[in-house]
């Protein structure tokens, strides 16, 4: 193990980690927002929007992200829609995430017993108050562990963007290998960095679970 080499390549990896985080976090925000909307629309319009919702989830969850990314990056230019690699990655990962996030929100929503909503109505609460004070707080708390898990899945999936030459962590490792002719250090470091990032995401998830739990008991 060449420690001098590791010190030399650390700045490049640091820069690449920022690219990975940027793509992942943008995709998580887009995916969570779109997933929330999709689930809300499917709940409000179960018949008209429900079919579209189920088709979308089936299509996205049944195909590899790499294939989706290729359709967006290589296929869309045929319609005159040309995206650079980073844009294609963020949009592709966002759409991919939306299907999973929507299902998480759906599961969290369905886990709240109907009796609670009826009780809220009996106490004279309006639909919006029930949503805000009864459904949303519980649904969010139930969803946090699953949302954390999904965020980690998106972080890991972003490595696939290296195949369409986004200069994130995985592609940077390949570039360093091509420049230094050493395989061991860049690839060991690469695995270690992803592992630490995933553990950090998991830690953030646990932290927010605690925070939400504490807030609710007050």
């Amino acid at each position: 193990m060449n420690f001098e080499l590791i010190i030399d390549i650390l700045p490049a990896f640091g820069h690449a980690a920022l690219v990975t985080l940027q793509a992942s976090i943008l995709a998580i925000v887009i995916g969570a927002a779109a997933g929330f909307m999709l689930n809300a629309l499917a709940q409000i319009y179960p018949t008209t929007f429900g079919i579209f919702y189920r088709g979308f989830v089936w299509l996205i969850r049944g195909t590899p992200f790499l294939a989706q990314l290729f359709v967006i990056y290589f296929g869309l230019p045929q319609f005159g829609i040309t995206l650079d690699a980073m844009q294609a990655t963020v949009i592709g990962l966002g759409i991919y995430g939306a299907a999973y996030f929507a299902e998480i929100f759906r599961a969290a929503w369905q886990s709240i017993p109907n009796g609670q909503i009826e009780a809220g109505r009996a106490f004279g609460l309006g639909r919006r108050q029930i949503l805000r004070h009864i459904e949303a707080p519980q649904a969010i708390r139930l969803a946090v562990p699953m949302l954390t898990n999904q965020a980690i899945l998106i972080l890991k999936e972003s490595s696939v963007a290296s195949i369409i030459t986004v200069p994130e962590l995985t592609m940077t490792a390949g570039t360093i290998v091509a420049e230094t002719f050493s395989y061991a250090e860049p690839y060991l470091l690469l695995g270690l960095i992803y592992w630490l990032l995933a553990l950090a995401f998991a830690g953030l998830g646990h932290g927010s679970e605690h925070w939400l739990g504490r807030r609710q008991t007050h």
Binding site: T63, P64, A67
Partner: protein, 219 residues
Amino acid sequence: MTLAERLADYMPAIASGMLTTAWLSMLAIVLGFFAALGLYVLRTRSGRIGAGAVKMYVSFFRGTPLLVQLLMLFYLPAAFGVDIQSELAAIAALGLNSAAFQSEILRAGFAAIPHAQIEAARVFGLNPRQILWHIQVPQVLRITLPSLTSETIDIIKGSAVISVLAIADLMRVGKQLVAVSHRPLEVYLSIALAYLLLTTLIAMLASAVVHRSREEKHA
């Protein structure tokens, strides 16, 4: 050529890519299952060091991208002078990755079996190996079938990244077809649909099995 004629032209290549993807994924799932059983035995029977090592293994393989695991398995042995075939690296990466996920699934399955059953089996004179294979594993398989199904689907989808090692799987076939036809949209959409066919078939097969085993139980 019309679109229909071109699609008919793609079919044989896509079918062969599907076969490669299907058998590599199945091999990885089966190998991953036995490795996951091994991890379970290590975790429960070899004390604190064994359990700690299993925990690290599971954490690493669940916390890093499959693509990175694949590249590490392919290039790290080369760094130490061992050349590894790309197919072997692909099966190893998919299998080791799946072992980590399956070991978490199996753990939940083992935990769901009442302890009294194990004690009863011991009283009847069964040894630990017989208890594992004849009492625990059949029930664990039945309990965890839905989770194992979604893991199988994850592996089929995840296996698309092995195309970077020039293995002629479904994804790689797509790239080759695009190189000839220069029509990426229809080719990659066909490839995506072929994956959808594989994953949907697996999901339908599993739900049929679950349905049947439920009926058997009630009969």
